[in-house]
Symmetry: C2
Subunit: 354 residues, 2 copies
């Protein structure tokens, strides 16, 4: 975000956007998102497949409330801490499934589905972050996505595809979205402007079957609120129409890629041999695995005392006591010199605790 | 809202507000709200008693999710349609209590509380709109508020005081808020900028005991979203600091009062004798009661065919089939000439259906 972008405010359209809007959200922004989906994935959707949401939060929260109560929610293990928090606020049952470098593992997924069938119940949702997952950075492969769909579709488990990092890819082409692979059936796909533009806008979008989107629009929050954040939506649409948004996303992708490369080089240089980490192809995060006898909380505290902030991996598991030897580094937020020094300090802390 | 107000945008503070904020919300705006509460009710609160919410929706929704599951929610009958909708989305149990001109009636409230006690359970919340209620326009009297508190406090039922119309009073002094009368214990009080400034801001505030507010802040939505709508909050704080907000609220109160007077005069002039309505002392609504043999849906449809829009009262009851002879007129939204003509047409439609 820079000041130039703020000049796109236009008094007249802003005044309109201060009223209650349509439950689906700002029309201009919806059109721009439909065009983006067509350009990127060659998918021709209609407005009935789309609505604006107040950040990805708003999507996860709405889906949890309306669709999460019919059975357990399946999650990647680890998964996004705040999504777990939202599901727990709703007092929903959760079951987590371990991951490998291709995405969530099929065997434990099969076992859960079989067990549910024996018990005469079914999972309500699978919540997944298929691109540059938070916290592991893993992108679920196309093949794995197809296998997961094959398992879930006969069981009518809705997939919630939290795709907020998709726009921040550094290298390869991305696998098709679950929404694409499923022909639009039984998948909610969440996008957001928080990672690419500004989190303070509280703005994202939700794609899905028309009937599923209709159910979300026809809930108390959107009926009462008149659509997601009309003021932010109008501003975002104006900015997008100037063409500045695309350039901005290009710039931050370049920046984050440089920071990732810088972080990886520093990890190679400083980390003790027995520490492992991933090489994310996009997004924000390095996921650092210490040997199992380590206590990540001790490392985190010691690093913090030297001014280095890392997230403790245990918060991303629904059973935290089992997994206390991971750290998450957000390379996206730190300038290069500071990051190299931070990783050097972290490596030193880890070496001392061995 | 007018264009002059938009000039309060300030690039630097806006850039800051595009980041994630503190879960509690924009600091400047919190300070201004604390001062307002002190000025109006002589209540000295601290920031621990306060947080910003994304419109009153955000408050009702958060409270429903976190506090509504331990037992039935008590509601005025009729009550606000979108609040009912939110509670139903959360699949919560509801019990409604009839009203008289002083507010909700004590006898049926006592009966419900006694029944719950016999059944070994308790109500979780009372949801009430104590000032200029939506849809009836009724303001709960101070005496009734005290009696209701006396009944609820020993049962540890939390009161959710949806006070979004409080700032729009036309005449008398208002009764003290439930929050005030309860000494801040066991009451959530909701305020909003939607009615006084602009609904598109999606911004309101929640007042309560520090421990209750802490629980709301420590939920997934606010942890994930970083506080309610930072961009709108910064803008609202800037506007408030210029002193323009107070004048604006004074202007709209005057306007709405004129429109209420105009609506009441037209009702007197045109409505058949057996139709009844209230005389609201603030807020937006006239509540119109037809004789019981009328079907409000028929009247609503016939009026709509002549371009007159009124809300059907049945949507405000949790058991709509029992109450189909009420209409709600929102006098606040219509210019005087148009309102007089609308009420004339409505009266004609009612006379023809007798």
């Amino acid at each position: 975000m820079n000041e130039m972008m703020l000049e796109t405010w236009d008094s007249e359209s802003t005044l309109c956007s201060l009223e209650y809007g349509h439950e689906r959200g700002n029309e201009e922004l919806l059109d721009l998102i439909l065009q983006k989906v067509y350009d990127e994935e060659n998918l021709t959707l209609s407005k009935e497949n789309l609505m604006l949401i107040p950040g990805s939060t708003g999507g996860i929260d709405t889906i949890a409330r309306l669709f999460g109560r019919s059975g357990p929610i399946l999650l990647e293990s680890p998964s996004y801490v705040d999504a777990i928090h939202i599901f727990q606020d709703h007092d929903l049952q959760l079951e987590s499934i371990r991951m490998d470098p291709e995405g969530l593992c099929l065997e434990p997924l099969k076992k859960i589905l079989d067990r549910h069938q024996r018990e005469g119940r079914k999972s309500s949702l699978l919540y997944t972050i298929p691109c540059f997952q938070n916290p592991t950075g893993i992108t679920t492969s196309e093949n794995r996505r197809r296998e997961i769909l094959k398992l879930l579709q006969p069981n009518n488990v809705i997939i919630v595809e939290d795709d907020v990092y998709r726009d921040l890819h550094f290298e390869d082409r991305l696998p098709p979205s679950y929404f694409h692979l499923a022909g639009g059936k039984g998948v909610f796909r969440i996008g957001s402007f928080s990672k690419t533009l500004a989190p303070g806008l509280r703005l994202g979008w939700l794609i899905g079957e028309a009937s599923l989107i209709l159910r979300c629009m026809d809930c108390g929050v959107f009926q009462m609120g008149g659509g997601a954040n009309p003021l932010s939506a109008q501003w975002t649409a104006s900015l997008w129409q100037t063409g500045k948004l695309e350039g901005h996303i290009g710039n931050i992708k370049k920046l984050y890629r440089q920071r990732r490369d810088c972080a990886l080089a520093a990890m190679e240089q400083y980390m003790p041999r027995e520490v492992q980490w991933n090489r994310p192809k996009g997004g924000f995060f390095l996921w650092v695995s210490l040997p199992e006898h380590f206590d990540a909380s001790v490392i985190q505290d010691a690093a913090e005392q030297q001014g280095v902030l890392v997230a403790n991996g245990k918060d991303f598991f629904i059973e935290p006591h089992q997994m206390n030897h991971h750290l998450r580094i957000a390379y996206s937020f730190v300038e290069e010199r500071e990051m190299v020094e931070g990783i050097r300090v972290l490596a030193e802390v880890i070496s001392k605790q061995q």
